[in-house]
Every structure is written in structure tokens, then in C-alpha cells.
């Protein structure tokens, strides 16, 4: 545990000393702030319309009108941002040769991978925590429903953890950061849009595809529902990629 902590601390230090953290958090908050601003202005405009003609106002509320579109925009930004956070985790150490040294210390593979994984997750949580400013602003002027707000944050958190697990897996496969980042981006985007083909592939495959879709499982969180099936889905993908990473690191032992 102490060894895991040592690695975790080193990674956090790197994030903050190398300005990675500031650039990531800063640009993520700037982008999501811009989304918040434009969505909120649109919501404002719609509210004025409704005050003139109440018949179009059915279902207009802060959660569905502001937070849901905001969160779905943020999930797309995360799709771009998180691979940048994870691509160097193992690839850089492999390239520099420090990974070899790390593996000759009395440190188990699982400690090495989890130390790094948790560091990336922490930075992601800090990014996400910064966006709590927007619902807080809403709460100053109005009373948004807390339940759906919390569940949609939980959903976004789980989604991010999944992306990060994919990222660390690809970072373990290669010593090139670019390759790791691009592959992570590709696979996460694929998981995000895999459901798009669902309407055209017949009833069985349609079910399969939509069950694999990251977006599909996010939907219920956004509506304020914590469905065990969705939580299981995210945890399963996360654990799967972390497990694959460990198996890959061990591979010299069973391949030779």
C-alpha cells in the first residue's frame, strides 16, 4: 500500500509540476464554462418564449434544459481530454527505460498499475469538481433538483474511470505516447457511438450493440436513476481493461 502510495504521489507531483494539471483543468473548465454560458443563454431565451406561450413550456426545467445538455457536451470533451491524461502513464516510462527499473523494485504489477490509475482518476475528479460551479450558480437563482444532478455526476465519473482504464491499457501496450493516445481516443469514441448502428442490425444485435454503448448506459444516470445494470457495465469495462493491462505486463513470463 505504501509502495502504491509512493507511485501515486510521484504521478500527482508530475501532473502538477509539469503544468499538465493546470493546462488540463484550465482548458476543461474554460470549455465547459463556454458550454454552460451558451446553453444557459438558450435556456433563458426559451424561458421568455414560454412566458409568452405556456403551451410549449411542458417539461422545461433546469435539469433537462441546462444540466443534461451541459453534461453530455462535457462527456465529449472528456473523450478528447482523458487520453491526453493517460497516454504517458506507462508509455513514457517504457520509452525512458525507467519502467525496467520500476519492475526490478519490490513492487507488484498491480501496485504499479493502480498507483498510476488512481493518480489519473484523481486529476479527473479535480477537473470534474471544478464544474460543480455551474450547478452552484444555478442554485443561487433557482432550485435545481439535487437527485438527478448527483446521479449524472456519478455517471460522468464512472464514464471517465472507464476511459482512463482504456487509456492505461493502451499506454502499457506501446512505448509511444502518440500511439497510446490515439488508440485510446479511437476505442473510447467507438464505445461511445457503437449504439448508432443499433436500429439497423436486427433485434438481437441491436440489443447487443446498445448494451455495449457507453452513452446508452449514461442515459439513466442523466435522468436521475441509478440502475445496477449501468453501474455494473462501467465497472466491468474498467476492471476488464485494468486486468488486461496487468496480464499484458506479465506477458513476457507466459509468452516465453
Amino acid at each position: 500500500m505504501r509502495r502504491l502510495g509512493a507511485l501515486y504521489r510521484k504521478e500527482m507531483q508530475y501532473y502538477f509540476q509539469s503544468t499538465t494539471a493546470y493546462v488540463m483543468i484550465g482548458s476543461f473548465l474554460a470549455l465547459s464554462g463556454y458550454f454552460f454560458y451558451s446553453i444557459f443563454r438558450y435556456y433563458n431565451f426559451m424561458s421568455l418564449q414560454v412566458s409568452r406561450d405556456p403551451s410549449i413550456g411542458a417539461g422545461l426545467n433546469l435539469i433537462d434544459g441546462v444540466m443534461r445538455p451541459l453534461m453530455s457536451n462535457m462527456s465529449v470533451v472528456l473523450l478528447f481530454a482523458l487520453p491526453l491524461l493517460t497516454m504517458r502513464l506507462l508509455a513514457e516510462e517504457k520509452k525512458q527505460g525507467t519502467f525496467e527499473l520500476l519492475l526490478t523494485y519490490p513492487l507488484s504489477d498491480i501496485e504499479a498499475v493502480m498507483g498510476k490509475y488512481l493518480a489519473a482518476v484523481t486529476l479527473f475528479v479535480i477537473m470534474l469538481a471544478g464544474t460543480l460551479l455551474y450547478p452552484a450558480l444555478l442554485a443561487v437563482y433557482s432550485k435545481p433538483e439535487m437527485g438527478p444532478l448527483l446521479t449524472s455526476y456519478l455517471g460522468l465519473f464512472l464514464m471517465g474511470c472507464t476511459f482512463i482504464a482504456m487509456g492505461i491499457f493502451f499506454s502499457a501496450l506501446t512505448s509511444s505516447q502518440i500511439v497510446a493516445g490515439a488508440a485510446t481516443f479511437g476505442i473510447s469514441l467507438f464505445f461511445l457511438i457503437i449504439g448508432w448502428a443499433a436500429p439497423f442490425v436486427g433485434p438481437v444485435f441491436s440489443k447487443v450493440l446498445s448494451q455495449f454503448s457507453i452513452l446508452e448506459h449514461y442515459d439513466s444516470f442523466a435522468k436521475g436513476i441509478i440502475d445496477l445494470q449501468d453501474v455494473t457495465y462501467y465497472l466491468f469495462i474498467t476492471v476488464f481493461f485494468l486486468f488486461a493491462t496487468l496480464r499484458f505486463l506479465e506477458s513476457p513470463h507466459w509468452r516465453s
Partner: protein, 314 residues
């Protein structure tokens, strides 16, 4: 300390190491000698549990490198070939990180880091960024992380490569000092280094072990004749001197080197069991020949190495 049996590593079809069996005793400083690509690094990587062997076994500090790798890794300090370091960390920050990773108890960690900083002469730079230090200092940091937590066995892969002559001397001195308390294996293709620092040498070529002995024994084993070189001040006296030396008992051959600045050097080969130096000096001086210098040639490790490696090839 180390016991290997038929240690073998193939990279696909390429041989990294083949049937290496050797042992290292506690307290020894062992040199791994071989041309580039001979399998020195591969062997070290197997001993540090980084690369699993394709065949054979090795025990390090009494533990199997495959089945008890955690126990092995607790007991070794390793300096890999290119000395990989985290360039963006400070010296002290890095060593504190290593102390935590190596399970040094929290209340001892700070003292242990101080100890290795002092041991490796890093007192002047503990807060500097590693990436901005000179190569010599970086090498010291590499050795510092290896000796941190006081392991029984140090494995140093080409510890002096890429350093300037002054730094090389300093690092060698450091390794010699460490060799007094610990078992050390170091690899090198620089031969004088090995003969200066190590008390036993293993020579590998193309993945196979071709010799394992002390530098002195290797030298004796390969000395088929004794060679002395002598210099005469007056080159004009060459024929007379040649005749005198030839008449001495045990001389096998004489070679006259080209004249330099009026002096002449002779290379004289004789039977190894007889030292002819005394006789040569006495006879030449008695004849009034101007002898400037005389010395016995020793086979350098360089010659031994070349001989062994070429024998292997032919």
C-alpha cells in the same frame, strides 16, 4: 550469492544467452566482460527478474528468480545500462520516492536517503533537478538509488559508459569502495576497468560463457612465452647486442624494432618458466653496451580477451 544453471534466453530465434552456468560468492566483485551484444545485459536482466529466462534457472541470494522474484528484488540494487532516471524530479525527491518503493520504513527513510547522498557524493546537489545534472552526477544518482535500502547484491550494467575520464575514475573508486562491503556484479567492455575493479572475471561472447577466473589466472593460463622488451641507446650496436642475447639460454626469438631517435628496441621471447632478465642485463653491461631500459611484458586483459574471443571464432 548467485548460482545459475544453464541460464538461457532466446529472443525469437536470436540467442541472448545460452547455457550460462556460473556462481558468485558473497563479497566478490565480479566483472562481466564481452563485446557489445555478447549477452551481458540479457544476463543481468534475468538476474534482476526483469526478463524471464527461456530455460535454466538461477538463484539469487538463495531465492529463485522466477518463483520468488519479490524476495530477490528486495535484496538487489540495480543500475540498468542507460541509467534511466526521472529527469523532472529533484535528486532528493527521487531518492525519497525510491525509499518508499523499496519499503524502507518511514522513520528510517530520511536517514537512509541522507546516507546514500553522502555515500555517492551528492551533498552539493540534493535539490537540483536530475535532468539538469552532468552525466557524472546522474550516474551517481543511479548508483545511489541502487544502494538505497542497503541491498546485499549490486548489479551494475556498464556503470562508467559515456563518462569523461575524471568521472570514470571517480565512479570506479566508488564501486571499489562499495565492493568492500557488498557483492557486486558489473559489466563492461572496457577491459582495464574490469582488471582494476574486479577480483573475478567472466567472459561471454555470443551468449556463451568462454572463461571464468581471476584476471591473474587468466593471464597465466594464456601466457605461452615470456616477453621482455629492452632499449639500447646506440642503434649502431644492434648486431653485437643481438648476438649476445641470442646466445643466452632459453631465448626463443629476437625481434628488432625500427630505430627511433638513434635508439633501438628489442622484443625478446623466451621460455615462460625462466626469467632471463638478470642474465641479459649482466651480459650486455659486461660487454659495455649502453642499455637504457628493460621490462617484462605482461599480457593485458585486452590481449586475453582478444585471444579468447578469437579462439572462439576460429
Amino acid at each position: 550469492m548467485i548460482q545459475t544453471e544453464n541460464l538461457t534466453k532466446y529472443y525469437g530465434a536470436t540467442v541472448g544467452a545460452r547455457n550460462l552456468s556460473f556462481h558468485v560468492e558473497r563479497g566478490e566483485v565480479l566483472g562481466f566482460l564481452g563485446p557489445n551484444g555478447a549477452g551481458k545485459t540479457t544476463t543481468m536482466k534475468m538476474l534482476t527478474c526483469y526478463l524471464p529466462p527461456t530455460g535454466g534457472t538461477a538463484k539469487v541470494c538463495g531465492f529463485d528468480i522466477l518463483d520468488q522474484s519479490m524476495e530477490v528484488r528486495r535484496r538487489i540494487g540495480y543500475l540498468p545500462e542507460r541509467n534511466p532516471l526521472y529527469g523532472d524530479m529533484s535528486v532528493r525527491g527521487y531518492l525519497e520516492f525510491v525509499a518508499r518503493i523499496k519499503d524502507v520504513p518511514p522513520h528510517e527513510a530520511s536517514g537512509e536517503v541522507d546516507r546514500v547522498i553522502e555515500r555517492c557524493g551528492l551533498q552539493a546537489v540534493p535539490h537540483r533537478t536530475i535532468g539538469k545534472l552532468s552525466k557524472g552526477y546522474q550516474q551517481r544518482v543511479g548508483i545511489a538509488q541502487a544502494i538505497l535500502s542497503d541491498p546485499e547484491l549490486l548489479i551494475l550494467d556498464e556503470p562508467t559508459i559515456g563518462l569523461d575520464p575524471k568521472q570514470i575514475i571517480e565512479i570506479r573508486q566508488l564501486i571499489r569502495d562499495l565492493g568492500r562491503e557488498k557483492t557486486v556484479i558489473l559489466s563492461s567492455h572496457i577491459l582495464p576497468e574490469v582488471s582494476q575493479v574486479c577480483n573475478r572475471v567472466i567472459i561471454i561472447n555470443r551468449g556463451e560463457l568462454i572463461a571464468a577466473d581471476t584476471p591473474e589466472n587468466l593471464r597465466a593460463r594464456l601466457t605461452k612465452s615470456a616477453v621482455i622488451r629492452l632499449r639500447l641507446r646506440d642503434a649502431a650496436e644492434t648486431p653485437r647486442a643481438s648476438a649476445i642475447i641470442e646466445s643466452i639460454d632459453g631465448v626463443l626469438s629476437i625481434r628488432e624494432e625500427p630505430e627511433t631517435g638513434g635508439t633501438r628496441v628489442f622484443t625478446v621471447e623466451s621460455l615462460p618458466e625462466k626469467d632471463i632478465r638478470e642474465e641479459v642485463v649482466r651480459r650486455l653491461v659486461r660487454e659495455g653496451l649502453p642499455l637504457l631500459e628493460i621490462h617484462r611484458e605482461e599480457l593485458s586483459l585486452e590481449d586475453i580477451f582478444l585471444q579468447l574471443v578469437t579462439e572462439e571464432v576460429s
